[in-house]
Symmetry: C4
Subunit: 314 residues, 4 copies
């Protein structure tokens, strides 16, 4: 995460167009607000990405529906070949036969194969051999993706609901606070802070990397208050609260860390828009208490707490 | 991707032989145009690499054929042991028996095991026990590779079909444009550009790393135009369109990024030969429009668009 | 593991509160002594982290109990639907039926499906189809986690049971010794040493990074004695054994290496409290002997051996 | 792979003891020649490392034997419970029953479950339920390791069978040649060369990092000749062929690269002892020929070819 600093032309990868309406490059959940449409030969749908990132509810519905659909298709095939080609089946009405063939299909797809119904001709045996093979591959793939969803490296970082601008040393500073939501440990945490802002003179959207008081810490065990000192070299030194709003500013946060469970590098992104920034407030110090055996305890929700301060800053 | 710069002897790893006929080190799909032949003790066939990188069509044909071949082999073994060693089988003509044993084999390999036919002697039971064991291992391995193919980290980067050489600042510049084909996000994208070119004096093939206006961006959300300014320090300052062609030039691109789905480092490679470079043209600015909720929309195919310019450059 | 050195405000990520009672940020097994409590919308329980890191005993108990519980639930469902809806069952007393349905459930969940008992109505067939599907997914997930536990990158580093402070060059030094417990190879081992100590003046807990004689080695084949020279720039130059104890000092060790089996980056952490530090002692040189064929042999437990020295240091 | 250079005390991690007999830290296959013995509480056997690194022959023998042993154990358990507790079994002599129970066990472990023999009491049903559960977990784990063996990142680098010392520029140089044995591509290849040598004055074994003409290349498509110029700063400037042998010198090579199939960082190690170094010889330039379509062809075994030169060097 080496900083590339080029005062004239800092580039974050979002383009530098100044839009007529307000835009937000990063949502608060870290997703990127750009739709890339594709027409023609290159389909841009990435099925693996989709299966890994959809919600658990959607994923389970997908698996269950896929199971029903595949069994229905095979049940129809078996039905049209004829229920009399099966041994052990109780020949009855159409629906009755169909249901029995549907369950024969399920028993074949999952390879449970009770055998009270069994294929009794070469043709249905062939279909059943194909079904059991695809059943094995399909379930194992579903399981692989299930495991992939579980083991996917994530940085579940809790960001303070508001960013603050408050007096700091001789000047003021932009600051926000983060903590690790999960029980795992995040180590070697690095932060990079950038600002996207409309430039009224050039009619372009400028990007500025903002210096941090500290760019890296070794553990994110309690919380970390990330501070951009608004000093002489800061591009926002002269901006007021109104300026930030009218220039459609967006403070973009990139965090990189190591998730200790699997020694994986993980990334987290977030952004604050002017409406999420409180002026003249400071964070309430985090309460961390020893609870015996050398252990310290904290409450995760405390990282959102701040209090207004009297001293006014411009 | 630290740059190693040694004006006398830059080395890319392709050797520095000046070939009598035109060569291309990198294909447009990023594959390397070198065949390494191996004779004797070290076979250089890497079956895992092959299974992961062959096309989906080939992979599925391979799985299906493997399934048929293995079942045929076991069916022959069972047939020569004798169909009378099985319980539940309807003893008939040769082919009839063979087909039943083939399907018994499939039911054993997939562990579906209906049981209407079952091994009825120790010898066939042993063969069946071996088959079911290899069936389990084989299918699971096939599935592992199937999952490996899905989860393989890829950078599906769309390169502009042409590179351009156009006036830029006080001089001219070599430029091309890239975008992410897929829905996933690529972050921390770095580019390195090198030139392979025949040197008429030394009769060797020289390699030069070409400076870029910007070597790294944080997001590849829209597109990125990568620019090599052809200034005083550029090795191609004095070369004309004809020079590039006669010296069999090749512009080699190496891109490194993080695929956000799995936090994996991914690589992409491409090269432009002189016939793929347009002189005196510039890229049409990418149309990115806000579509509500702060979201921006773009069309992927627009990155190929360029227009000829009047101003002539030498 | 770039060092961030800021004499005024070194930050390790544990906060800088000076606690009234003694705390230990890192346990000797490397776990972090901070409890992050979460109330409300964000549950901070990470099931994957938990399943990967619990002991083998707990993991196996969990799998076995899960298997029993799931089968019991399905057995109850089948029982309340009615044993007469099954074919092949020997209808008897309640418990007798229940046990047969319990084993039918197990045969369905594992897809073994002998078939001597089989579902004989659409309703029980549906339940059985669901059970076999979840059985496949559940077992495969359990297996994935089982494999994840095996393949998890770990640095099993043996730390000398005591750290030593002994004369060294013109001054004295803080030192400890490490070795690789396992047969695999650790390469490119880096160490970072930090000190957490109460500052009586500021009533805060200060963090200092301590310089090492050598920060990185290429192989951890035998042992490595890590040395912090207590020279003029060391923050502990003037401290005595009593000072370390009263200021609740903690020497925090962070080790990063590559595990050669899977080319994975692995981390190890440990800390020494004053009670685990011996003054005026030195490590007994490790006995490494050639055992033929160029091979060297060592005993892992020898890394703990030290001997008191006469020369007194203050 | 940052170089740590400390002329007085370079440390590679092998200790600095000067042994009475000749030692070799690294074998030609890259394995490390150090045995770490462990007595007492910490067993240092890493079963995953072992299962991943043993030969294919051993691995397959292990799987097959494990399968036989587990089935034999369960067959004994079933046998002692009594063959009459099973349905469908043909009660006969002891061995006859045992074999049938052995195959019942195999059908349960693999979940093939034909069902012509089935458990007919709660006790044997319980054992069978346990067996099928451990069968599922065991096979899936075996498969995971099988896949782990296939997908394990490896750098299959072919080293020239001899290293050469030959005139080079104004002085001489130590050089060897490498190529990629496999079809995959290795990119961003870095090399580090170190020398372990007995120091007759200090009676210790010194380690020196040796400067390379070039430390990194981008592709290992053809071959790479790695050159250490023996100039004024080289620690071996004044040493003769005899000196290297009597001081038990070992040239230790560490190579790091990216395997392109899975974007994995891979490592390779090798060492040359004095008997594997040819003085006054140079490598035969590698024949690389264009074979049409811009493709270049080479023979892997050519990297071993060298020729003696007339010009004598001391």
């Amino acid at each position: 995460m080496a900083k590339i600093k080029n005062k004239q032309e800092t580039e974050l990868g979002f383009g530098n167009k100044n839009y007529s309406e307000s835009v937000r490059f990063l949502n608060r959940d870290g997703s990127v607000n750009v739709k890339r449409n594709s027409i023609g030969k290159h389909a841009n749908f990435d099925i693996f990405h989709w299966l890994i990132t959809i919600s658990w509810t959607k994923f389970i519905i997908l698996i269950v529906n896929g199971y029903i659909v595949v069994n229905t298709i095979f049940a129809f095939i078996y039905y049209f070949i004829g229920a009399d080609k099966f041994g052990g089946i109780a020949i009855g009405y159409g629906l009755e036969n169909f249901m029995q063939l549907f369950f024969f299909s399920a028993q074949t797809l999952t390879t449970v194969g009770y055998g009270h119904i069994y294929p009794n001709s070469s043709f249905v045996s062939t279909i059943a051999a194909v079904e059991s093979m695809f059943g094995l591959l399909g379930f194992a793939l579903a399981t692989g993706i299930l495991y992939g969803r579980f083991s996917r490296p994530k940085a579940d970082i809790e960001y303070s609901s508001q960013a603050l601008i408050a007096p700091y040393s001789d000047h003021k500073a932009f600051m926000f606070r983060i903590a690790n939501q999960k029980q795992n440990e995040l180590i070697e945490i690095e932060c990079q802070l950038a600002l996207a802002i409309n430039n009224p003179k050039t009619k372009k959207r400028d990007f500025h990397f903002l210096d941090l008081e500290r760019q890296k810490i070794n553990f994110l065990s309690t919380s970390w208050t990330i501070v951009h000192p608004i000093n002489e070299v800061s591009p926002i030194l002269s901006l007021t609260e109104t300026d930030l709003a009218t220039s459609d500013a967006e403070f973009i946060i990139l965090i990189k860390a190591i998730n200790d469970t699997y020694s994986q590098t993980v990334y987290s992104r977030m952004s604050y828009k002017p409406s999420e920034i409180i002026w003249n407030a400071k964070f309430v110090p985090l309460k961390t208490n020893p609870v015996g055996n050398g252990t310290i305890s904290m409450n995760l929700k405390d990282i959102h707490l701040f209090e207004k301060i009297q001293e006014s800053i411009s």
